[in-house]
Structure formats: C-alpha cells, structure tokens
Symmetry: C4
Subunit: 202 residues, 4 copies
C-alpha cells in the first residue's frame, strides 16, 4: 500500500505548500491568528476529497490571573471536488465547521449565513458512511453538492480522532494539565483533615 | 448554527465575568484555592441551563518527598433557571457534585446536608436524557426542582468529557506523567537482569 | 454523600500515613525504588476493601542513548479484610498484580509461587461484579479468601482507569510524547520528497 | 504468572540488545532516523512471536515557522518464527506496516513491492483472533506464512494500544498540545467580543 500512499501524500503536499488560495488549510478570518500546526487528515476518493482538522478553543485572561474558556474549539471539514485522477481542486473547496455537540452526534447539521447542509449517514449496503455537503449561496450564485463515501475503517479513524480531540476542544485538557501534585496552592489546606493520629493503626 | 452560538457565548460570558454572586463558577469554600482555569461546558435550554466543570483531586506531600492522593476530584454540575429568553439567573443556581463513582454510572444520586437529589434518566421517546436536580433546604425554606432535557449529541459530549477527565480526578494522570524512560530512579536496577549475554543471538 | 466520603477518606488516610507494615501501599522488593506518587483508588465494602494502583513499566538505556522498555507495568490489587465497621486490617492484606493482558480481560488469573487465584465475575443478579482473591501459602499455612462485591458504577470506574493506564504500562505514552513536530532528527529527510514544485497548483 | 513472564522478558531482551540483524527493532531505511525509544509489545506463541510498535508521523517546517504533517505514522508488526521452545528467530522476521486506516479496521491488508498479505480474523471457536502474514518475494524466492493465534485478552490489549496511539500517528496530539490558555497568539483577539458589559448581571 505504500506505493499508492506516496501518490496521496504528494497530492496532499500540493495542497499544503502552495498559495493560500489553493490550500486546504483554513484561511482564518481577519484578526484570528493562524495555527502553528497543520494536521489535516485526508480521505481521497474518486470524485472528491475530505480533509478534517481540529481548531483550538479560545481562552481569555481574567483580572485574577486565571483563564477562562470563551469559545469552544471545533473540527473543520474541507471538501474539494476532483479535477482529474487523484487531483483535487482546493480553489473550489467548501468548508463546514463541526461544533462539539455536532461531533457528539454526526448526522444532519446546518450552518451559516450561506446556507450549508451537512449530512452524514450510513450507506444502505452497510459498507460505510457518506458525507454530503451541499452549499447554497444566492449572492455568489453557488449551488454545490459534494459527496464522499467513507469506508468503515476510514469512519473509525475519523470518529476515533474526533473522540480524542473533543476534550481539547472543550478546553478540559488545559484544566487536566493544571492538576499537579506539587501545586502548593492545592491540597495543602487538606493536610489538617488528614494529619491526625488514629488509634487503629498503632 | 454559528449565529445562534454567538448569543450563547455572550450569555456564557455574562456568567463568567461578573461578580461571584452571579457567576456559575463554583465559589470554593474558605481555605480552598480557586482554580486557575474555568472550563465549564454549558447546555442551554428553554427553562434552565446546565454547566459542568471538573474539580481537581487533592494531593498531600509525604515526609519522604513523595505525594499521595488524599481526595479524589469530582465534576461539578451547576443548574440555573431561565429568567428570560436565553438568559439564566445564576444567583439562583443549584450545584451538585458528582463523585468518580457517580460519573461511572449516571443515575440517581443524593448529596449533602441540604437534601439534594439528582436524577439522570433516558427520555421516554428515546431522543436523549433528562437531568433533574431537586433541592430541599428546610432551614432556608428552599424547595426547588430544575429540569433539563439533554439531546443524544449533548449527552455524548458530556459522557465523553466525563470519561476523559475521570483518570485525572483519580490522580492517575499524575502517576502516568511521572513515568519517564530516563528516570534514573526507575529501571536502572533492572539492568543486571537484562544485561546478560545470550547464546541465542550470537 | 460527602459526609460518608469523609469517613472513607479518613480511613484511606490511616492506610497511607502509618507504618509500612499496615500501609496498603505496596512495599517494593529490595532494590526497586518506591513510587513518588501514591494514587490508589479504593472500594470499601462491609467485609473487605480493595485498593487498585498502577505500577510503572521499566526502561533501560541503550549504548546509543536511546531507551528500551524492558518490563511492562502492571496494576496492583490490594485486598484487606474488615476488622470493624469501616476499618480494614491492612496488616493482613493480600496483593495481586494484573499484567496488561490480564487487564485486557478481567477474568480468572493465577499468580506466583504462593498460589494466588483471582476471579472477577459478573454477579448473578446483574447488579455488578465480584472480585475474589484466594491465597494458599503452605509454608506460612495461610489459606485465605477475600471477596468484594463491586457495583456497576464502581466497575466502570475501575475499567475506565485500567483502560486509561494501559498505554502507560506498555510504555507507549513515552514513545507518543517523544513525537514532536520540531524534532530535527525526524522528518527533515522527508523534505526532498515533498519539496518539489507541482504544476497542479500554479 | 511472574515466573513465566521473566522468561518472556529475557527472551524479549535478547531481541532488543543484540545486533541489528537479529533485533526485532525495525531497521529504518537509510536516511531515516532511528527512534529514541523502543516500546515493542510482544505476544509469544508456540510457533511464532508478534511484536507491535508505533512509528512516528513526520512533520515539515513551513517558511512561516509553522509545521505541517507530511506523513502519517503507522504501527509496525513484526513476525518471527519459533526456532526452539520460547526462542524466536528474528533474523527471519517479516514486517508489515499498518496505516491509520488499516488500524481503523483490522482485516485483510496488502502491502508493498514484495507481495505481503496480512489477515486478521476471528477464530472460529470465538476464543480470539489470528494474525496471519504471508509474504511472497519472487526475487529472493521467499514464500513464507506466519500464523499467530491471539487470545481475546491479548487482542483487547492490541486494540487498546492501537486506539491510544492513533491520534499520535495522525499528529493530532501535537496540535492538541499546542493549545494553551496563556498563548497570547490565540484568543486575545476574542476579548473585545466578550469584554462588553451586560445589563443582565448588574
């Protein structure tokens, strides 16, 4: 399978290293900083490709020096139609962002001012799922539908990756990482409660 | 969905940045340090909102320089009744702390001096679960019941977050993080056992 | 439930802070270093208590400067019979170590020179599982059996903790943590393969 | 079980500490750096042994200072036939690399210029799975088939380890680890949106 994969990686490379116009990497809205790491996972099929990529939650500092989560992260889905054999036209890509709740149940989701409808449903023959994104933009007169069949194995990878990233999108990893045994601001007040002497063990 | 969400985040913001009286952030008992990170995940419904947030376990130093877990962490549930459309009255919030075992099986749980009963049960139509917290405080003459329907997707996010955080509440992450290959206090004694020469591979 | 728990924690405290003879903390064999963190999770029942605690894998340095895993970690189960209401006699504790494979399928396991048999089976009424450890030591003339019923929720916590810790016992976390994007020893050789110019995106 | 395991670990040691020719550690192709950690998990059976080991994804630096994933990691399976009781001939080992998608669904997979076929299927009696690797190399005139029965418990450990490592092979852990609350390049632009004063909480 490695031979085949190299072609895929070459293809992926094209996507990543060229101008932002054709890159599958999400162009952040003005004022939002670009990520420092691009970790898109791609599924390439005959008529289209799908790249999925996590997006950070946002924290804000409080006056107390603590931080609070102000915006949960999400997963960005990017769909590109095929232009030729194993070549995808990322200039015509369509994006859809999955919130944590939408990740919790992949199904029918709608988004945005430009009407976007994502449907994720099992294939009738039980061989996997399909992802279908249809986009209607009456201003730009775009009316597009991109369809990707996803095998069971590919779907397992997606849901496994989504399940992994979910606590990070919620910011719970940051809380979890802040729990340290030697943190003097925690637990030391608990000492009196546990420091007594007990008959039992003498 | 983004448009709707912004309103929700604004709502959430109100909760976090105002006085502690109206904040959904748990006011720690005197002597307990406040967390440095606020990562509440909220579910907003017509009649009430629910915010879930992890709380650290506590460690104590031993004379040997090691640390021991003295109190397991928990998940704090905070319920606030709606006061108007998409506005919630956190001054009237009710809290419930879920122990690790209660996280292990969300069901019927009771708590505290003030009698609190939390019920988490599937909705009869299979569309999700409900969280119901009823509180009876005869001293303050409070007798309140807060009910939140939770969709399948929202429930999946909650259980996924709970499942993620559980080892941290047990403090097992701290043990896990202390396992380092280059820790000279570990494994070096194992060398003699594995350092011999063996006929087999000559 | 908090009131009840404090008693449990006090009980747990007795276990941890007294002489090694009565401590539930595993006394490591001579030459093996003691862990720096004690994170035992305990289940207290009428006739006995069970504490579960992870134990590190061991690594050895290679001449190349790399490290290899030479011994997988395990989970230590410690059983103590009750001596009085909510008091457990850790001087009479029996221990059993679960290998990663035994963690993979909690069932019937045997161990050691002193014959030990651990059985983990569902309770007939479906309300949970039982852990039964029987120990026969003909030298010391010990023939003991400790039985602990474990509720569904408690069992979920145990298996969730076991599932979390398993990759750490395998040492895979150390490998995973060594994967860094800015590691110049990795991936830089990949550049030529991906650095070419492609017609497609011009 | 410890006694038995020591023999296994001794066996494993032989594999790791001798010449690269007989080591089960994967000899990287020229130009690829060797891993710094060897964390192979082995299953030893009568006729053969199987060692599984993760392999890092590869990142490349971008001109912007960011990094992109250019090659997903994989899991390396190494099969060695038995040469004597509890001794395995790693000089005759056969290797197979599982891509993330193949990890997502262990089943029938093919690889490479030298034709390799891996089959993972449930045993007919329901007692576990078998791994079968057959290799045909017409140049070297090799035509070999290695078969390993894997118990349910061993299979659970493998899939648990695979499931753990998958996000690391995708490089998503690196993204996840880059999400920090105090990262000034993130979230600070969000402040204006959340910094307003709200009537509600006055």
């Amino acid at each position: 399978t490695l031979g085949v994969k190299c072609q895929y990686y070459d293809q992926q490379h094209k996507n990543f290293t060229t101008s932002s116009r054709s890159s599958p990497s999400f162009a952040p809205p003005a004022g939002e900083s670009a990520p420092k790491l691009f970790v898109g996972h791609s599924i390439y099929k005959g008529k289209a490709a799908l790249t999925v990529e996590p997006r950070s939650p946002e924290f804000s500092p409080l006056d107390s020096g603590a931080y609070k989560l102000v915006k949960e992260g999400f997963v960005l889905l990017q769909f590109a139609p095929a232009a030729a054999v194993r070549q995808y036209d990322w200039t015509r890509k369509q994006v859809f962002s999955l919130s944590v709740t939408e990740i919790g149940h992949l199904g029918k989701s709608e988004e945005g001012k430009v009407r976007k409808l994502l449907k994720v449903e099992p294939l009738p023959d039980g061989s996997g799922h399909f992802f279908n994104l249809s986009v209607q933009n009456k201003v730009l007169n775009i009316d597009e539908s991109i369809y990707i069949p996803v095998t069971k194995a590919e779907y397992t990878v997606l849901t496994s990756a989504f399940n992994y990233i979910l606590p990070y999108l919620l910011g719970w990893h940051a809380y979890a990482n802040s729990i340290k045994p030697d943190d003097s601001s925690r637990g030391n007040n608990a000492s009196p409660r546990y420091g007594g002497d007990h008959e039992w063990n003498r």
